[in-house]
């Protein structure tokens, strides 16, 4: 009956024999083949209605253009990647908007990489600024070595003025403070893991921010997991790569990813699962690595990486544990980060908070915070970033709470910036409920 034994035009992603193959884009980016994805786009434009940038910026052509349309256009030799791709904030909302399984964010990441590689002047202010922002982790150790000095210098108005004039980093924002003791320093000082357990073991991917800026989040994870009997490994690690993807610095991301995959795969060998406390880090390890890289073990690392809270929900009776807990009354305005949303984790925090006696968490809705990592730090994006965030600020103001709650470090910067609220991480609340905060581990003096 069939006129072809081997159909060539019938791409059905998810069908058994024809698994979608993400393509290695390095080192020959021009050889990437995202045609099956581009062909799946039937131009319904739903992605465009989810794009927080297109909603407030008349100049931005939207994810449909940046993905499948741009990909097709530049098949022709006379078309360069359009510079508007740098206005994409990498929130990745278009991925879950698409009813047709077009790998939009993968297309954006590859297009952005190509644009930066081929069209951006490496001596330009923009390139240098983006490289600095994307490689925040490289500067962080220096600042962390002299945190008080760094915080003082970064807070000076002259520094901010220089940042904006020379580098194009907005002077509107406060630089995040560096902790006086990084998480890794604390971890080493306490002598590493306090629990040994060959049956319950995790490798913690803490990422940069909770190491250098908010070690209290990382310590909360340690206390919660040890409370539940887990042995914690803290493997060597580099930046997750998220700010690098977002800035088209794919070579930098590749180097970071190679380290992470190697170290995390080694931890898997030792019987650990990988958990991350930052939603962009887990997104990166789970989705972007397999889409963009093909190191040995990339897939294995992705398949065994978990969000820290989600892991406990599946492997422990977390709900049962929480039902017996209570804390002194506290109300939160909860914002689900885009990168939690994209992993189906947006309802998780509210579900758990409901179980803790004394805690009220109010979901402030599905709007994007607008900062999107390094995006909102750029002078030219600041206004767009705040316009996107306006809805979230309004909803936070409306919620009967004066403290914010989220799992993403940069979302929390934006929440604080727009409302003046103090912001906490879900793990910190779980720590307070399950372990208490006055642990002898020295958290208070560390902060």
């Amino acid at each position: 009956m069939s006129d072809a034994e081997q159909p060539t035009d019938d791409h059905v992603p998810g069908a058994e024999e024809e698994e979608f193959e993400p393509v290695q884009v390095f080192p020959e980016a021009e050889e990437m083949d995202l045609r099956p994805g581009a062909d799946n786009c039937y131009k319904c434009s739903t992605c465009d209605t989810n794009c927080p940038v297109a909603e407030v910026d008349d100049e931005f052509p939207g994810p449909k253009f940046q993905g499948p349309e741009q990909w097709r256009l530049k098949r022709q030799d006379d078309h360069d990647v359009d510079d508007s791709v740098m206005k994409c904030s990498n929130c990745m909302r278009c991925d879950s908007a698409c009813p047709s399984e077009v790998p939009l964010s993968q297309m954006h990441n590859t297009a952005r990489g190509e644009y930066v590689e081929e069209n951006m002047d490496k001596l330009s202010r923009e390139y240098i600024r983006n490289r600095i922002l994307a490689n925040y982790r490289r500067l962080a150790p220096l600042a962390a070595a002299f945190p008080r000095t760094a915080n003082f210098v970064m807070g000076l108005s002259v520094t901010k003025w220089m940042g904006e004039k020379v580098l194009g980093i907005t002077s509107e924002r406060e630089f995040p403070e560096f902790a006086t003791e990084t998480f890794r320093e604390w971890w080493t000082k306490r002598g590493g893991a306090k629990v040994e357990n060959p049956d319950k073991r995790i490798a913690y991917f803490h990422g940069c921010y909770s190491n250098y800026n908010t070690p209290e989040v990382a310590k909360a994870l340690v206390r919660v997991y040890e409370h539940l009997g887990y042995e914690i490994m803290v493997p060597d690690q580099s930046c997750s790569g998220t700010p690098m993807f977002a800035n088209g610095m794919l070579e930098d991301a590749r180097r970071a990813a190679e380290t992470n995959v190697r170290e995390l795969a080694a931890a898997l060998e030792e019987g650990a699962d990988i958990v991350a406390s930052c939603s962009s880090c887990s997104m990166s390890l789970r989705q972007e690595y397999p889409e963009l890289f093909d190191f040995e073990d990339t897939e294995t690392v992705a398949a065994n990486t978990w969000d820290a809270v989600e892991y406990l929900r599946v492997h422990e009776d977390l709900e049962g544990e929480l039902e017996e807990t209570s804390v002194d009354g506290e109300e939160f305005a909860y914002h689900a980060p885009c990168h939690s949303r994209n992993q189906g984790l947006d309802g998780q925090t509210i579900e758990l908070m409901e179980l803790i006696d004394g805690i009220e968490a109010h979901d402030v809705g599905d709007s994007c915070s607008g900062i999107s990592g390094t995006y909102g730090w750029k002078e030219e994006n600041y206004e767009t970033s705040m316009k996107i965030g306006e809805e979230m600020f309004e909803h936070m103001d409306d919620a009967p709470a004066e403290t914010g709650l989220t799992e993403c470090p940069t979302c929390s910067m934006q929440m604080e910036h727009g409302t003046g609220y103090e912001i906490k991480h879900t793990l910190e609340v779980l720590e307070a409920a399950l372990v208490g905060t006055d642990d002898a581990d020295g958290r208070r003096e560390a902060g």
Binding site: M1, S2, A4, P7, D10, V12, G14, A15, C44, S45, T46, D48, T49, N50, C51, A54, E55, V56, D58, E59, P61, G62, F65, D95, S96, A97, C98, P99, S100, E101, M283, R286, Q287, P290, E299, A302, A303, N304, T305, W306, E310, R313, V314, H315, E316, D317, E319, R341, N342, Q343, G344, L345, D346, G347, E351, D363, E390, E391
Partner: protein, 442 residues
Amino acid sequence: MAIEDDVLVIGGGLAGATAALAAADAAPDARVRLVTYKQSTLRHASGLIDILGYAPGAPEEGPLVDPFDALEDLPQGHPYERVGSEAVREALAFFDETVGDAYAGDHTDANALVPTHGGTVKPTARYPVAAADGLASDDRDALLVGFETLPDFEAPLAAAHLEAAGAPFSARGVTVPFPGIVRDDAKVTRYAHLLDHDESVATGAGETGAREALATTISERLEGESRVGFPAILGDERADAVRADLADALGVDVFEVPMGPPSLPGMRLEDLLYGALEERGVRVTSGVPVIDFETAEADAVAADGGSGDDRIDRVVVDRNGTEVPHRADQYVLATGGLVGKGVRSERERVFEPIFDCHVPHAEDRYDWFVDDAFGDHPFARFGLAPDRDLRPLDARDDPEFANLRAAGAVLGGYDFAAEKSGAGVSLATGYVAGTRAAEEGE
């Protein structure tokens, strides 16, 4: 361990959301979860709630005046025939209660005729209040307004079509620039955001709010019409205020003409339904697909060849590569049809990808369609065949699983595009599947 609930609904469109709401309503103590892969397809929906616009197989007879009359004569296997017309009424009443005064049309059994962006009229049972002043049965003259940067609504053409279709009023269309929009392909959400926030825009007379600027643009073109129709982009979160402001400034009634996807009325309906889900404590997990399942009696499957006693123990959700188990007592499958990818096809077969439920279809794929492009295509009716309890049946007419029901476009036996019955079937089957799942789970 797994993530545990009592009722798990798979799919976040109109059928899935209704099933989850109905389950939470029928068993208030039950834990209900909705898992949806992609964002709700309600964004593609017109926002109109059709029950039955045309008799199945007889579109030439014209739009049906009373859809409920026609429900009694539907062919066997049609989803409405499976659940019965009383359930359709109950489901519609449930919808009315859920959306409150955001929708109109519940004063009558008769279909309303709502003008579409192409200038045709669509027979529908419920319509957003934003569209209420646009009904084609209303005899007031209408001005339709299109925008130069929004090619999906060609107002003069739509007006001409309406008149040609015999609308009992005079319709005129004008095309104007939209104040504050420069780019040719601005997103519909961009228009809505400008009006929602009444952003300041530059006009010939200086800076002014977007709503006022738009009203000024239109008032110069009014020629005595007592109602003005816009494409459905008049705000999102604050659509009522936007419409009221425009009506005040113009001194006439203002209505929206439903648009194709992506559709603001669909998004507003999504917000209403998801707001209701949140109020009822339904847990929503989105952005992740259900990819697999395990049965409770794996041995029994092998022994009896898979007849109706098998129960689904858990399903597996793929979270960007990690497999997360979700367990519930009862399951509702509402993943959509061929377009929504709840039913898929290859050259050799048509299948349901999660549970591999039986999809009746001809063996030879040349029998899946007919030559006439607008003909009565078998593929339009592809989908699961359920029993009266909405449990999908296998090839031998036994339920595939004791605790699985199906709702919405994943069901076969009807051609929603030709009949204009998509929303109604989703509501009715979602309502029945959700209610039964909750009752049986208790």
